[in-house]
């Protein structure tokens, strides 16, 4: 992970324009991880699950027109800014910041350690233009870019849908993207980091690769064992099982990492993807040694 930065409300607010065309801004509201519930109730948990540090909210108002709201989150690290952006990837690419989507009046993007939501309370041609203009201005004002999570480098590229990769820490977020189990059988949480990737196979078949990085090999071993016990009780010592839908699930535990392939067409393909992951993991370890 990149080094966490101290949150700075004034600095964050300075990235947001004071006006947006004829819309005038109201006084900023500032929230941290404890007070965010006062602003967006339980929705705050999503941002807390990505370690949010600070939120500056600025509302733009013009009589007779829908309000536009900018919510600027300092996530503390670019990895978590990327991660919270990947929580909802629906929408069209708006080419703003380091990654963006636009849908139904909402522009979401990330840049450096910041995640931005620019939202028109009602979408019109005028508010869509305003939202995009505001987003571009904010992105231009953020001086640096930040790195994506290193875990992305462990995803085998063949068949990978690179624009659909999710990064997260929390099992509730995993379940949102791909339901595994009601309980946290992979022992996720803030000490862990995970990527969930989608792969397209022949005939449009879709499989997934989950890679979790734990704080130490002991935690990875415990989590891998927990997953196999609950999800693959019929594995009988093998690394893969054919599940009720006729697809294959396979898991491997390597050092601090647990990798799981879900819904692959065959046992062989599931094994190949895990081997490709292991190769990339070894390469990453070599890269660290050389540095």
């Amino acid at each position: 992970m990149s080094q966490p930065q101290a949150p700075d409300a004034h600095g964050l607010a300075s990235y947001i324009p004071a006006t947006a065309g004829p819309w005038l801004s109201e006084a900023d509201q500032v929230f941290d991880a404890e007070t965010i519930f006062d602003y967006i109730d339980g929705a705050g948990e999503v941002y807390r699950s990505y370690n949010m540090k600070l939120l500056v909210a600025r509302r733009f108002h013009k009589d007779g027109k829908p309000d536009v709201v900018v919510d600027a989150f300092d996530m503390g690290s670019s990895e978590d800014a990327f991660g919270v952006f990947t929580h909802d990837l629906d929408g069209e690419d708006a080419a703003v910041g380091q990654g963006s989507t636009y849908k139904a009046g909402l522009l979401s993007f990330w840049k450096d350690r910041y995640f931005l939501s620019v939202y028109a309370e009602e979408e019109t041609a005028e508010t869509k233009g305003l939202v995009l203009e505001l987003g571009r201005a904010i992105a231009a004002a953020i001086p640096r870019e930040g790195p994506k999570p290193g875990l992305l480098k462990l995803l085998p590229p063949e068949g990978l849908e690179a624009e659909r990769v999710r990064f997260f820490h929390n099992h509730s977020v995993l379940n949102y993207h791909f339901f595994v189990a009601d309980t946290d059988i992979l022992l996720l949480g803030q000490r862990a980091a995970a990527v969930l990737a989608e792969y397209r196979g022949s005939g449009g078949a879709r499989s997934r690769l989950l890679v979790v990085e734990y704080a130490d090999p002991g935690e990875a071993a415990q989590a891998g064992a927990s997953f196999i016990k609950v999800y693959m009780p019929d594995a009988g010592g093998k690394t893969g099982v054919r599940t009720e839908n006729g697809k294959w699930t396979a898991a491997r535990i390597r050092g601090r990492h647990v990798a799981v392939v879900f819904d692959e067409d065959s046992e062989g393909k599931a094994g190949q993807r895990l081997e490709a992951f292991e190769t990339l993991l070894a390469k990453a370890a070599e890269g660290r040694k050389e540095r």
């Binding site: 929705a43 709201v69 909402l106 979408e123 379940n175 009601d182 609950v230």
Partner: protein, 302 residues
């Protein structure tokens, strides 16, 4: 009837929540949760869904007189009593101090029309106006709620970023000083709110407002006009879990119609099933719910 195979993911979704848990249990030893024993000859819980095609006003409610009629029809059907004042007198005593727990969410509130319809009928049951309070976020500081002997629970249903849906069960979250204490496991145990001394045993009626439900959300505010529709309904029950389970079915049906698939809600709304199976607050199983439908049936989805 769907021919879709039930997978271990389905099992692990319902193992701690729903009666389906028994289906795969023998095949998946070691999985958490246990099948729920079927009760013998259980009575059904009544839920009334009432709808009216009248146009909605700018606040998202039908005209006040239509809302009053909808509510009255629903309460009469719920309680099997033709006289509306008599019906309310079976719910509320003249000496009660009544809190109407509403919901003031910026985009889809309970609506003044529903609040005032409820207040009118509580007064019709003999309660003086100064013994009736209407509040949401201020309930802990509101003197009427502090002294309340009866509660009416009224809120809209909407999809929710963390609990799956905003529900009647969840509407009592404002009775705790720190709502986030109930956010664990995506709000799984919200039903325990109903054991708080401020609440326990006081709820006389639940009204799930379905005038303009939100079936999907985007962004931090979890709202876009694209994802609300004019359903123009109210769901009324003594049982908050049964009312929520019914509302959830409508939300899910709308999602299926809109998205064209069984796309899950952003977070699992398992707090509704768990309110039944873990906390025994009410009934979530549709097979144990007697759904009475009144009024407009076009696009009813259930």
């Amino acid at each position: 009837m769907s021919n879709r195979t039930i997978t271990r993911r389905d099992f692990l979704k319902v193992a701690s929540a729903a009666p389906l848990a028994g289906v795969l249990a023998p095949a998946l030893k070691g999985a958490p949760g246990a099948p729920r024993a079927a009760g013998a000859a259980e009575e059904k819980v009544r839920v009334v869904l009432v709808r009216d095609p009248s146009p909605l006003g700018p606040g998202g409610a039908p005209p006040a007189d239509v809302v009053q009629r909808m509510l009255d029809d629903a309460v009469r059907a719920l309680l099997g009593e033709g006289d509306i004042d008599k019906a309310w007198k079976t719910l509320i005593r003249p000496e009660d101090v009544v809190g109407i727990k509403t919901n003031a969410w910026r985009y889809i509130p309970t609506t003044t029309e529903v609040e005032q319809s409820l207040k009118r009928r509580v007064m019709g049951a003999g309660v003086a106006e100064d013994r009736i309070g209407i509040d949401d976020r201020g309930v802990l500081r509101n003197p009427v709620f502090q002294k309340s002997t009866a509660l009416i629970n009224a809120r809209p249903m909407r999809s929710h970023h963390w609990s799956g849906v905003g529900s009647l069960i969840k509407n009592y979250i404002m009775f705790v000083p720190q709502p986030s204490a109930y956010h664990g496991d995506t709000c799984a145990d919200l039903a325990t709110l109903w054991n708080l001394p401020e609440v326990k045993g006081k709820t006389r009626l639940n009204v799930l407002v379905m005038f303009t439900p939100l079936f999907h959300g985007v962004g931090p505010h979890h709202y876009a006009k694209e994802y609300v529709w004019d359903y123009k309904g109210l769901i009324v029950s003594r049982d908050p879990v049964a009312a929520d389970a019914t509302g959830l079915r409508i939300i899910q049906a709308r999602r299926k119609a809109f998205f064209g698939d069984d796309r899950p809600l952003q977070m699992t709304p398992h707090h509704i099933q768990l309110a039944d199976t873990r906390h025994h607050l009410g009934v979530s199983d549709p097979a144990r719910i007697e759904l009475v439908k009144l009024g407009w049936d076009e696009g009813i989805l259930i």
